[in-house]
């Protein structure tokens, strides 16, 4: 009796288990959803000292099939937001399936209200807050950029910890 009951139960559950397994297999092989990710952050000099002007670049990776652009960023250094990015959009192209290095603004390793980190590390977080897919084509010799729609799945962030030097020497 118990054996029959177990068999019935297995038969009842089988479609559900099979569906779940199929879904898992499909997820493994499906194309990633079109989007942008922050792949890397680069800072020069690599180990800044106090009162040092730092150059900041970010590498974005596209998994889309169209050019992405109109990129909005938020940057924080040791948790302090750099306000300059609040009303800026960068119209550099991130080509389909490719990476693009975007040069952002320089920042000082110490600033009013943001002292030079005492702990030997400076945390820099770059968030891609918004972007748009663009249709880019040539019309009468001009390159025409037409926005198609927003890149979904944003914001995306990355943080790096920069080792800092205690002095500029």
């Amino acid at each position: 009796m118990k054996k029959n009951l177990l068999l019935v139960l297995l038969l009842l559950l089988a479609p559900t288990v099979a569906a779940a397994a199929a879904a898992a297999a499909a997820a493994d092989t499906a194309e990633p959803k079109p989007g942008l990710t922050v792949e890397a952050i680069r800072i020069e000099p690599a180990a800044p000292g106090p009162d040092t002007l730092c150059k900041l670049s970010v590498t974005l990776r596209s998994t889309g099939t169209k050019t992405a652009s109109a990129l909005g960023f938020k940057v924080t250094v040791d948790g302090k937001e750099l306000a300059v990015y609040r009303n800026e959009l960068v119209y550099k192209p991130v080509e389909p399936g490719a990476t693009a290095e975007i040069r952002l603004h320089n920042f000082w390793s110490s600033e009013t209200g943001r002292p030079f980190p005492a702990g030997g590390k400076m945390n820099v977080e770059v968030t891609l807050t918004e972007a748009r897919w663009m249709d880019v084509k040539t019309e009468n010799g001009a390159e025409v950029w037409t926005p198609i729609g927003p890149v979904e799945g944003l914001p995306k962030s990355k943080t790096i910890a920069v080792i800092v030097k205690k002095s500029t020497q």
Partner: protein, 556 residues
């Protein structure tokens, strides 16, 4: 009859006709003194002495630039100092770094600013094409080129650059004049002035000296330097066809700008001269220029008379897509507006100073700095003029040494209304250099004003227009990394077309924010933004967003 006209002009232009506008009856434009709150403690030292040397009353300039690349507009302020110049710290210029919180800090020492010449003008541009903003300093005496090292400091590149202008340089401007991709330089020079000449000017009865009339001095020839592309320049003044011999009929250059006047995508050259006809050189496209000054209609006024040209600006005031030319002049002269009638290859202007309403309010004033900007964000370009006499005791009772500035609101069709009622409270100054820049990056153009022997002023624009704005940052291909010479057109759904040109050096001895700002009235959405890049490529953005600065890169 002419006397009646002058009387009416004098009444219209009375210095006391302006006042602050706390009630808003003057319109939405709001400018507020912000120099103290911003921590800008600078006072121009003219070096005024009992001898009353002429250079003491002519300077100096100011520049908005982002020297450290942090996205905020910093300020470079030119100092003059002792005259004759003695190289002391009295002549040390100042660099104020924008902290991004509405305040500035003095970064002169940290940035290793070294110029101690008797300062006149400052032109900010990427002279060596390495991606950061350098400084050309026009002095009485040797000029200086300060090269930005990209790490927040500058080094003196004067000696190795080949830029060897001496004499009395007033102002300078950069552009890729020969189309080879790098920035060339034009230096406007004023007069040959010898501090030991012993000439007496002033009141013979009392023995009181005043500054001399410049008709007593021979003009100094201007200079054109070709960028050789290796970080050095060569004097090509005569080779490119713009050599002018020094003498009473030429020279006395005060202001200079490069802009494409005839829409052939090549920068032409306009120079304002004091008491000499202004110069207009058409760029022939083969690395040389043609002097079309007198035929152009922009050299003299409608009566055929040369005026005392000081500062200048080029902007599309009448909305027809080409740059009109404006020049500030002496008192008892009208400031000039030359309406552009050019076609490709044919540079032509008409003097519309009177009919446009641009000139008459200036009759009792002596204009120097001049910028075109949409101050009230209504979609039409306005003009701000910094005024101040050169003589401490001007000839007419109705004319003063310290003078109020002026705001002329444009209607987008080439006509102006005096809106000086929107000037902030404060004593009149002896205005000289003037630059526009959005130091708080809120989309509203602010103003920095240098006053001879007076304080640096920063006017924060607090206009609530009800509309919106759009800013453009151009990143050109090296070596012209700021895309100097680019033309940007914003078309809106209302059929309005606004045009801006990327320039490096204009107004009087000054440089404005290189970002290009567009105001948009309420309900007016942008339809398309077009950039005609210096390389010849054209880029269009359909339905650009508003309320933001858009950074565009020159396509490859």
């Amino acid at each position: 009859m002419k006397g009646l006209g002058l009387l009416i002009l004098a009444i219209l232009a009375a210095p006391g006709a302006h006042a602050a506008d706390p009630t808003g009856a003057c319109g939405p434009l709001r400018l507020r003194h912000a120099e103290t709150a911003a921590g800008l403690a600078f006072r121009h030292d003219s070096g005024k002495s009992d001898a009353r040397h002429l250079p003491e009353t002519m300077g100096s300039g100011v520049a908005f630039l982002d020297y450290d690349g942090d996205g905020w507009q910093d300020l470079y302020v030119v100092q003059s100092g002792a005259f004759p110049p003695d190289g002391s710290s009295r002549g040390a210029d100042r660099l104020f770094r924008n902290r991004g919180d509405g305040t500035f800090e003095d970064a002169t020492v940290r940035a290793r600013i070294s110029d101690r010449g008797y300062g006149q003008g400052v032109t900010a541009a990427d002279a060596d094409g390495d991606g950061d903003t350098d400084l050309y300093l026009s002095n009485y005496g040797a000029d200086s080129l300060l090269l930005n090292r990209g790490d927040g400091t500058f080094e003196d590149g004067s000696a190795r650059s080949g830029l060897n202008a001496g004499g009395w340089s007033s102002a300078a401007a950069f552009a890729d004049a020969d189309g080879d991709g790098d920035l060339d330089l034009y230096v406007a020079r004023y007069v040959k002035y010898d501090p030991n000449s012993g000439v007496f000017c002033g009141d013979f009865a009392t023995g009181r000296r005043d500054y001399c009339d410049i008709s007593l001095f021979e003009g100094e020839s201007d200079l054109f330097y070709r960028n050789k592309g290796d970080g050095t320049f060569e004097d090509a003044t005569r080779a490119v066809g713009i050599g002018t011999s020094a003498g009473p009929e030429t020279g006395r250059g005060m202001g200079v700008l490069f802009v494409d006047l005839d829409n052939d995508r090549r920068p032409d050259l306009y120079v304002s001269n004091d008491m000499n006809p202004n110069l207009l050189f058409h760029n022939k496209g083969d690395g040389t220029f043609e002097d079309v000054s007198l035929f152009s209609g922009a050299a003299v006024n409608a009566e055929g008379k040369a005026q005392a040209g000081m500062g200048l600006a080029a902007a599309d005031f009448d909305g027809d897509g080409d740059p009109d030319l404006t020049v500030t002049n002496f008192d008892a002269e009208l400031n000039s507006l030359y309406r552009n009638l050019s076609e490709p290859g044919n540079v032509m202007f008409e003097d519309a100073s009177n009919s446009s309403g641009f000139g008459p309010p200036s009759y009792n004033l002596l204009g120097f700095g001049l910028v075109a900007a949409d101050l009230d964000l209504d979609g039409d370009l306005d003009a701000y003029i910094a005024n101040g006499h050169v003589f401490e005791h001007p000839k007419w009772d109705s004319v003063l040494y310290a003078q109020p500035d002026q705001i002329l609101a444009g209607d987008g069709r080439g006509r102006f209304e005096n809106k000086s009622c929107a000037l902030p409270e404060g004593p009149p100054q002896v205005g000289r250099g003037l630059a526009a820049g959005d130091y708080d990056s809120d989309g509203r153009p602010d103003l920095a004003i240098q006053n001879s022997g007076g304080p640096l002023e920063l006017l924060r624009n607090e206009t609530e227009s009800g509309g919106t704005w759009l800013g453009v940052v151009l990143e050109g291909r090296a070596p012209n990394t700021a895309a100097v010479g680019a033309k940007v057109t914003l078309s809106s759904g209302a059929g309005r077309r606004q045009v801006r040109w990327a320039t490096a050096g204009d107004s009087y001895q000054s440089t404005s924010d290189r970002r290009l700002l567009f105001g948009l009235p309420a309900g007016e959405a942008p339809k398309e933004l077009e950039v005609a890049w210096p390389s010849g490529r054209t880029q269009r953005l359909v339905s650009p967003p508003t309320g933001a600065y858009l950074t565009l890169s020159e396509p490859r």
